[in-house]
């Protein structure tokens, strides 16, 4: 049993109990196998809802990560509100799969009457928009539309400036561009082919662009960009000032990226690059076999090196045979 210092307010305890959930077990389920000295606060912000905040610290009291989940027991919806996995990863901890597995386990404590059947979240920050889609979450339709509108110009800008040898092939670009066109590609599941793609750019080409867009003075930066185009893209040589300015503005997304942390074998996955620091809101529905299949596969892959007992729990009634490891 994981040692978790748990604080539960009376209203939360009542809310959980009235739904047949033992508060102590909820805390245990959410904290299982999570590293660090754990504490959990369980509160009830409103009727029918419970908020859990798991915090992990080092023995000396330094914060490792926190993990906040809201359970709306009336609508059977869980919502990941705060998940500082990135900070944890920087400290050498890989907690993502354990946390998600625990959440699913906790949400299905009651078996035939699960506490939740959907987990909502906002995919954001450096990797979130890419990683959560890889894991099986899907954006809501309106959110996907907003997301496409923000990402498609980035792809266009990169293809407009990169040297020909570094650009995507025509067919690959056409496909990616089309999937980012909200007038054509409306289904949120179409985010999956984007994150499954192996298309990549050479890191040297992206770094060179990054150096240009990081230049602090506007006029000099535009001169640098024009010079870059003249050298690398004869077809863009006569770009007018307005188009150059627009290009410069769009490419600013490269300024603050940590490219080295994104590259593998000298290449950067195109969709990972485009999705960085973008945001979408969406959910994972336990009743959607495609989503659960994808989640299970990822969990199994990540946890293959760990004991079988740590593999994800998925209720049989929804997902029999969908990649659950024994």
């Amino acid at each position: 049993m994981t040692n978790i210092k748990t604080t539960i307010d009376a209203k939360a305890a009542f809310t959980l109990s009235s739904h047949g959930i033992r508060p102590e077990k909820l805390a245990q389920d959410l904290g299982r196998d999570m590293p660090g000295a754990l504490s959990m606060e369980v509160t009830s912000p409103r009727d029918g809802a419970v908020e859990t905040l798991l915090e992990a610290k080092t023995p000396s009291g330094e914060m490792l990560y926190d993990w906040k989940v809201n359970f709306d027991l009336a609508t059977k919806t869980g919502a990941i509100k705060n998940f500082s996995i990135y900070h944890a990863a920087n400290k050498g901890l890989s907690i993502g799969t354990a946390a998600i597995r625990n959440l699913l386990r906790a949400g299905h404590e009651n078996g035939d009457n699960p506490a939740i059947d959907k987990i909502k979240l906002t995919a954001e920050l450096e990797r979130g928009a890419w990683v959560w889609a890889r894991m099986g979450w899907l954006p809501d339709e309106t959110s996907f539309r907003r997301f496409q509108k923000k990402v498609q110009p980035k792809l266009e800008a990169l293809e407009q400036v990169l040297p020909s040898v570094e650009r995507l092939g025509f067919e690959a670009y056409a496909m990616m561009h089309t999937l980012l066109d909200h007038n054509v590609s409306k289904k949120p599941a179409l985010i999956w082919p984007l994150v499954d793609s192996n298309l990549s750019y050479n890191i040297n080409a992206i770094e060179e662009l990054q150096q240009i867009v990081r230049h602090p003075r506007d006029d000099e930066r535009l001169d640098l960009l024009r010079g870059y185009l003249q050298q690398n893209r004869p077809d863009q040589e006569h770009i007018d000032a307005a188009a150059l300015g627009k290009l410069d503005k769009t490419l600013r997304f490269l300024r603050d990226l940590d490219l080295s942390g994104m590259a593998r074998d000298g290449r950067i996955n195109t969709s990972l690059l485009l999705f960085s620091w973008e945001q979408w809101e969406g959910s994972l529905s336990f009743d959607n076999p495609d989503q659960m299949n994808r989640l299970n596969n990822h969990m199994s892959r990540f946890e293959a090196k760990k004991p079988a007992a740590q593999n994800i729990f998925i209720p049989d009634k929804h997902h029999s045979g969908y990649g659950v490891q024994s």
Binding site: G169, E171, A172, A174, M175, M176, T178, L179, D181, N183, V184, S185, K187, A189, L190, W192, P193, L194, D196, S197, N198, L199, P289, D290, N293, R294, N296, N297, S320, G321, Y322, G323
Partner: protein
Amino acid sequence: MITKRDQKPDSIDSLTDVFMGPVSDERAAQIPFQMKSLALLVREGYPLYLAEALVRPDYAIFKTQRKPGGPGLS
């Protein structure tokens, strides 16, 4: 890996049939995500050769017919 894999389909219809036909849950779980994404794109009406260029840029085991058209791509 995939049911009917040996048939090496050479048209969008036959590929769709491979992916959308009766595949057991157990079998479906073994299909790599890229293949599932390819199937999704084909099912949604995107041209196979474009879909392949996106999700299978490193290899191509299916002989594809180039059929211009599809959503927004004509």
